[in-house]
């Protein structure tokens, strides 16, 4: 029974609030897409998507309540993803 230490129980209310936030953000991203922001079209859409993903990761996927191993390895993966996307784009943009 000692392996239950990080058994954080999220209440239905809290989960429902997160769902509400995610649905509102979906509405915002659809609404924003009807406006031409020029250069900011894609960064805006990605910024909203990243915010949504953060909520899903932290609460639905319990990342907020995990130990350092999962948190650090996750950050490592995301850093690698940024290197992969960033360096490829850097190469393509300045070719």
């Amino acid at each position: 029974m000692d392996s239950q230490e990080n058994n954080h129980i999220l209440s239905y209310t809290k989960l429902a609030i997160i769902l509400g936030i995610l649905l509102i953000l979906t509405g915002i991203t659809v609404a924003v897409s009807y406006r031409d922001l020029g250069f900011f079209n894609v960064p805006m859409a990605l910024a909203i998507a990243c915010t949504k993903v953060t909520f899903v990761l932290l609460f639905f996927m319990h990342l907020k309540y995990e130990g350092p191993i999962i948190n650090l390895s996750f950050i490592g993966t995301i850093s690698f993803l940024f290197i992969m996307i960033g360096f490829t784009f850097w190469d393509v943009a300045f070719r």
């Binding site: 997160i18 979906t26 894609v42 859409a45 998507a49 899903v56 390895s73 490829t88 943009a93």
Partner: protein, 198 residues
């Protein structure tokens, strides 16, 4: 107890697998980014051909199902077996709705002669061809993940009903849930990139 189950270890294993999935889709998004940079006008032209309403509906379906999967874990932790079963059945139904929407969406595109190697795309602009190629690869791979996720949730549902998943051991349900949330995460990026590019 010698045969103590290492639940943290099980969860770390699942996360390691999810990292490989993130990099898999990350690679496809790199392709998207590079070709978007090369053919921005065709990507927005292609994006306008996609049905935003179906895309938005599918986003909502996946977000709601993610919520119900998370809620089913809460229910199991609180020993509310019936609620957990109801939440899981609802989540699997959401997966079916998503796939049915996808079927109609792809069906309409194929009907308009827009599919890999179709006459319209091959003889048309290369930018559009690449956009729809990426569209089919990424949403197709994502659709496969939805099917796998539904299978995992169904197995968890059977185990919950059989009493094998309980408040003291629910790693199977938890890991299936993590997989389902990953499917949701990927869709959160797919939706604006394909359906909402101006």
């Amino acid at each position: 107890m010698n045969n103590r189950i290492d639940k943290t270890g099980i969860k770390i294993g699942m996360w390691l697998f999810l990292y490989s999935e993130i990099i898999l889709f990350g690679g496809l998004f790199v392709l998207y980014a590079v070709y978007f940079y090369k053919y921005p006008e065709f990507f927005s032209e292609g994006g306008k051909e996609l049905n935003r309403v179906i895309g938005a509906a599918n986003t909502i379906v996946l977000l709601v199902s993610s919520f119900t999967v998370a809620a089913s874990i809460t229910a199991i932790q609180r020993k509310a077996k019936k609620q957990a079963i109801a939440f899981l059945v609802f989540s699997i139904l959401c997966g079916i709705i998503f796939l049915v929407n996808k079927y109609f969406e792809w069906g309409a595109k194929i009907h308009h002669d827009i599919y890999p190697n179709s006459e319209t795309l091959v003889s048309g602009e290369p930018g559009l061809n690449i956009f729809f190629g990426l569209y089919y690869v990424i949403t197709g791979l994502h659709g496969l993940h939805v099917i796998v996720g539904m299978t995992l949730l169904s197995i968890s549902l059977i185990l919950v009903m059989a009493g094998k998943v309980t408040e003291s051991s629910y790693s199977m349900l938890e890991n299936s849930g993590l997989y389902w949330h990953l499917v949701d995460l990927i869709w959160i990026f797919v939706f604006p990139l394909f359906y909402l590019v101006l």
